[in-house]
């Protein structure tokens, strides 16, 4: 059946005086596609720009000194404390964490900050009310930091218990898990907290 004949054969809502269709009382007409597409494009552009700016700033030596190195040292210390809770002895020296004859350096990529940048860019680019964004930043960044601490702690355990599985665990398991966590947090935020105008 052609599109035209299918259209003609359908029963539809009541026709108005101008030949148009009158929506039932209390119902608003569905949003036109043209009003939705630019909003999506703008959000994507904002997201890309924010991410590029944050990433470029992160490459500077100032960010390295002021942000990444302290966060890496802090991550190593807290991960060692976390291992201590499970009676696994771990020592730290700066950003180096050592346990059971295995030592690892928490470098800039292991701080979880890049995944946090992705999450922040997505959150800030998405239309929504200010309080929702503040809540999203506070809860999401906190959750991602906590997950990263678990990641570093488990990698140290894998490093001394199953050294041949370290690379697979590091790259093939934890990398996707971190980005999936950021995606899930963002999805949850958009559906439950964002309260974006026009939703």
């Amino acid at each position: 059946m052609s599109r035209k004949s299918r259209k003609d054969s359908r029963g539809g809502p009541e026709r108005g005086a101008g030949g148009g269709v009158v929506p039932p009382a209390g119902e608003t007409p569905p949003p036109r596609r043209s009003s939705v597409v630019p909003a999506v494009l703008i959000a994507y552009l904002k997201f890309g720009s924010l991410l590029l700016v944050l990433f470029t700033l992160a490459q500077t030596s100032l960010a390295e000194t002021l942000v990444f190195k302290p966060v890496a040292s802090g991550t190593a210390k807290v991960a060692a404390m976390l291992l201590g809770l499970f009676n696994i002895e771990a020592q730290t020296r700066g950003a180096i964490i050592q346990s059971g004859g295995f030592a690892a350096l928490v470098d800039t990529n292991c701080t979880g900050l890049f995944v946090i940048f992705i999450y922040l860019s997505a959150l800030l680019a998405y239309p929504g009310r200010a309080w929702g964004k503040v809540l999203g930043v506070a809860l999401g960044v906190g959750a991602l930091f906590c997950l990263n601490l678990i990641r570093v702690a488990t990698l140290v355990v894998v490093g001394f218990a199953l050294p041949d599985k370290l690379n697979a665990t590091h790259y093939l398991i934890w990398q996707p898990v971190m980005i999936v966590a950021a995606l899930c947090l963002w999805l949850f935020w958009t559906e439950r907290v964002a309260d974006a105008p026009g939703d």
Binding site: G20, P23, A25, V40, F114, A168, E191
Partner: protein
């Protein structure tokens, strides 16, 4: 603006799909590395790297050294740790498998082009890094000329590699939503709101 994905339904499915896909991918990595090596052997001559072929050794995709012109004593073989770049493939598969409300044919229609895009991305990354390694090395020795290349490689490894499956999934969701909208609009007669006193 919303993706139309209910987090409470989607997130458990995604975790389950990821738990299936990640171990499976670890088993498939050697095969995928071989496919990448074949792709490299076919594409390197097209980008001016005649006589170089891709091969596999352990977790690495290796590229044979360029033919010696006599000026260099021992040209080096370059190696890429395969999963450093392609850990995003199982994430894409998991995202498509976890999306609720899709028919098997729709999932396949998303997986095939998306998988090809990711494969092209993995090849492009390896070729670009191979061609720009001399610049990256000079940058590590202090030359400023390699900063841009290093920035690009870092951008891919840290941001783009993680984001690409999610962006592909977003594109798929938007495409699906748009197709639904178009078919819905084709079925409905045009909508106009009647003005005047009709209440």
């Amino acid at each position: 603006m919303r993706l139309g994905i209910e987090p409470a339904r989607f997130i458990p499915r995604l975790i389950f799909a990821l738990a299936l896909c990640l171990p499976l991918w670890i088993l498939l990595v050697p095969t995928y590395n071989r496919i990448l090596a074949v792709g490299l052997s076919l594409t390197l001559p097209l980008v001016g790297e005649q006589g170089r072929v891709g091969m596999v050794w352990k977790d690495y995709v290796l590229v044979s050294p360029p033919e010696s012109d006599g000026s260099q004593r021992s040209p080096k073989m370059e190696g890429f740790r395969g999963y450093l770049g392609h850990y995003n493939a199982p994430l894409f598969v998991a995202l498509i498998l976890a999306t609720p409300g899709l028919r098997i044919s729709e999932r396949l229609k998303a997986l095939v082009p998306g998988g090809l895009v990711l494969y092209a991305l993995h090849l492009t990354y390896m070729i670009l890094e191979l061609k720009h390694l001399p610049y990256v090395r000079s940058a590590s020795q202090g030359a400023a000329s390699g900063w841009g290349y290093r920035w690009g490689v870092e951008l891919y490894l840290v941001i783009a590699a993680q984001l690409s499956p999610i962006l592909l999934w977003f594109i798929f969701l938007r495409y699906r939503e748009r197709r639904k909208q178009v078919s819905h609009e084709q079925q409905l007669p045009p909508v106009t709101v009647r003005k005047g006193k009709d209440r």
